[in-house]
Symmetry: C2
Subunit: 219 residues, 2 copies
């Protein structure tokens, strides 16, 4: 099996299994990888032969310890590159994913180590997703969407998931920028918009906008 094929399967199994907690179906894998289920059946059998997944007929697939280790390494490479492209080369958050998708397949531990060092060995990428360390250890992210925030708790804005000029202008206007403290007062039952306190002023944030704002509990 080709290195890149193996990597893409492992990575996808990892993502679909929510950090290797669940078994994933062939159908789900097929959809995500853009192939038909028959192709997945073949592939997971081979991965099983390589001892990278547990696999039993008509049941599903789960990463072995070895498989999970490889998957975590790929995720690390991907997210280090994303961070590097955004931070050091000035790419937009929306551009980095596609490029990292290719760069992640270049396996060279020293290269990733040097990139990570230059970035100060970050634990999270610009999207707020955790970056596994060299041993595959993940620091649990406490980043959530503002729309999922608990009322009363005070949060800090950590990022956004939409980068359209219109949205960024909207944020600017309300000073909803990175580092700002926000608190949800109440949720409108009707349209799920939020009453948010920010800079000691109350503002209304639509459900759509709140879904694009990433926050973490202040502390």
């Amino acid at each position: 099996m080709q290195k890149e094929t193996v990597e893409n399967y492992l990575k996808t199994i990892y993502h679909l299994s929510n950090g290797n907690a669940q078994v994933v179906s062939n159908k789900a894998l097929a959809d995500r990888l853009g192939v038909i289920p028959a192709t997945v059946t073949e592939a997971v059998k081979k991965l099983h032969g390589l001892k990278l997944v547990e696999y039993e007929k008509s049941y599903g697939t789960r990463l072995t310890t070895a498989g999970a280790k490889m998957a975590l390494d790929i995720v690390r490479r991907h997210r280090i590159w994303e961070t590097y492209l955004a931070t050091e080369l000035g790419f937009g958050w929306d551009e980095v994913h596609a490029i990292a998708e290719e760069l992640e397949h270049v396996k060279n531990d020293k290269l990733i180590k040097k990139l990570a060092e230059k970035l100060g060995n970050p634990h999270f990428d610009p999207h707020g997703d955790p970056i596994p360390d060299e041993k595959g250890k993940i620091r649990k992210s406490n980043f959530i969407k503002l729309s999922d925030a608990k009322p009363k708790t005070v949060y800090t804005i950590m990022g956004v998931t939409d980068h359209s000029p219109a949205f960024l202008k909207y944020l600017e206007k309300h000073k909803l920028v990175i580092g700002v403290a926000v608190q949800v007062r109440s949720v409108e039952e009707f349209d799920h918009s939020l009453n948010v306190v920010c800079h000691k002023k109350r503002i209304a944030v639509s459900a759509v906008a709140a879904g694009c704002i990433i926050v973490a509990p202040k502390g």
Copy 2:
């Protein structure tokens, strides 16, 4: 034909043809690519179908304008990455080639442009090899090995092609470092060692050492 296969063939044809001046043989390609000549026959036929090479049975292969353009772009990517790895990430000159061999296949013009800009759009890589610009234009290098230097002409040391500690120590001792002016006084017929003037002192440089020192005419 797969993108990476195409790129490796074009790059190799480019290198073996000395900047697309000569026709290259299947045998030479096979040796360089680590495959048998039969495989090359197949491949060049396909490249011909893609109009990337001119090819006539039992004669040889040469890049078309389109093929040369692609080859130059690959060479550019390779050498920009080499320079970046050495300059920005602190890799040794001996390490960069292998990594660049993988990175060169990531095709993203904006990425290469940003890397090049960060490096000040260099025309030569750390080995002294020219970096084609975005249009594929190459600035002719006037770098030569010290062993090929004309007597009397004054040269500047631009780099080395050996990175062993022993050699670097030797250079250090004689202050034969980058930027230093050197002049060949004479060549020993017996062992081809050079009598070189450097820092106003005469020193003897063996043929082996002179072959590892890169110089350019001072000017």
